[in-house]
């Protein structure tokens, strides 16, 4: 087997691993408020989210098969750079999961690829205006917009149902959460599984297995959909707990307002072709729904930690991506570098998972409101 084929195999496997962590990490966006308000039992919520993520991955294949389009020079992207970028994103996803912090998987992937590009080709290969316009400005806009929309939405909800008996109102909003959560899960599957499909398709084109204008192969669609659905189904319970009960203690109306406002914001942005992170939108929505009721209802310390994680996502993923690219190149241009890094990465991931589950079992599986 040629070295290029070995690297291709490693890139495909790493892309699917990233897709898995993406689903695992972002489950919270879809199910945290649903679980927190007991709209659905935890295991039912993540199973439904996983199924809708799977279906969502098949809804559209129209997103351009490019990585970090308009952010890095596409002509200079190689399979080794993609590999290093994916590892940077996976490491950041696992690190934020370890600390129970919601952060954007898409920004982590962009950060990883930018870091690897900087290490490989220097600053000339990175379009910093594209980085600002496609990543930094949306990262600033998304939580503020969702905060405002959810804040106004919850005030409207309270105004309309304020004098009604709380029992039927809570049941109604819980049903609404199932609908809005379903929309979010579909949108997440459509958006995020396509990134992995794009990465794998690009690697296949770069390796000569596909023509440059070829459609995404069916096995790529199915494997990407399966990886993100499996990750979603296993669920990042630590982040679910943070989003569902540590930022605010929410009632069903707040859960519906944050999720409904989040879904409306994401779909409005998608309609106009403006990239907003699902994580930033839902986190901002949860904070807005809490703050509109009472400012002190939001645990601002937890919210601050989340914002710090958002700020660190790009530079940290870039740092890991750059370092991984550098280490890979130490072994020359063949397959040895990716093989060594992939083996070390798998060992590290197994160690982190086992250690976290040993030390944090009470948080990950039996915490109040997030029991699977």
């Amino acid at each position: 087997m040629a070295a290029a084929d070995v690297i291709l195999g490693i890139v495909v496997a790493t892309a699917l691993a990233f897709d898995f962590t993406n689903g695992f990490h972002d489950t919270a966006n879809v199910v945290a408020t649903t679980i927190s308000t007991r709209a659905l039992p935890p295991r039912v919520a993540v199973t439904l989210a996983a199924l809708l993520n799977f279906v969502g991955a098949f809804l559209s294949l129209a997103v351009a098969a490019t990585i970090a389009k308009d952010i890095v020079d596409q002509q200079l992207v190689t399979t080794t750079i993609v590999f290093a970028g994916l590892v940077g994103a996976i490491v950041w996803n696992l690190a934020t999961w370890y600390f129970g912090l919601p952060s954007s998987s898409s920004h982590a992937l962009v950060g990883g690829v930018v870091g690897a590009m900087l290490a490989a080709h220097g600053t000339a290969a990175v379009h910093f205006d594209g980085l600002a316009g496609k990543v930094l400005v949306p990262a600033l806009i998304a939580p503020i917009l969702a905060f405002a929309v959810a804040g106004i939405a919850i005030l409207v909800c309270y105004r309309v149902v304020g004098r009604l008996a709380p029992g039927p109102v809570s049941r109604g909003y819980r049903l609404g959460q199932v609908l809005s959560g379903g929309m979010l899960a579909l949108a997440h599957g459509t958006n995020d599984a396509q990134k992995t499909m794009g990465v794998i398709t690009l690697a296949l084109i770069a390796n000569g297995n596909l023509a440059p204008d070829a459609a995404v192969p069916t096995w790529v669609v199915i494997s990407a959909a399966t990886a993100i659905a499996l990750g979603t189904w296993l669920g990042g319970w630590r982040i679910i707990k943070t989003m569902g009960s540590r930022i605010i203690k929410m009632d069903p109306a707040q859960g519906f307002a944050s999720q409904g406002a989040g879904a409306a914001t994401i779909l409005a942005a998608t309609h106009f072709g403006y990239p907003l992170s699902t994580t930033h939108v839902i986190s901002g929505g949860v904070m807005g729904a809490g703050a509109a009721k009472r400012l002190s209802a939001v645990r601002w310390g937890v919210a601050g930690n989340i914002v710090v994680a958002w700020v660190l996502t790009l530079p940290c993923a870039a740092l890991v991506g750059g370092v991984v690219y550098g280490v890979t190149r130490l072994f020359g241009g063949g397959a040895a570098g990716p093989v060594v890094v992939a083996a070390a990465g798998i060992a590290l991931m197994v160690y982190v998972f086992v250690r976290r589950l040993q030390r944090g079992a009470a948080i990950t599986t039996t915490a109040e409101g997030v029991s699977p």
Partner: protein, 82 residues
């Protein structure tokens, strides 16, 4: 960063559209669903004593539900068409 370069990086018109459409859609969706709940609860309360009022509330709930279903269909169409 000069204002010119900032404008080049950010499409202000597109951003403004996203902001006001998200605000209108998010608030309208919440309002519509809240009206479904209000209409359904009130219709149930008045079903035996004041049937006309109950019917009016049921119509309100139905109208709200149609708006919510329309929003869902529009959302799916956005996902399919992008």
């Amino acid at each position: 960063m000069s204002p010119v370069s900032a404008t080049k990086i950010v499409d202000v018109g597109q951003l403004a559209q996203v902001i006001y459409v998200a605000l209108i859609a998010g608030v309208a969706l919440s309002l519509a669903f809240s009206l479904v709940i209000r209409g359904a609860v009130r219709a149930g309360e008045h079903r035996r004593t004041r049937p006309v009022l109950a019917t009016a509330h049921a119509l309100l709930a139905t109208a709200g539900l149609l708006v919510v279903l329309g929003a869902i269909v529009f959302g799916v169409s956005v996902m399919l068409s992008k």
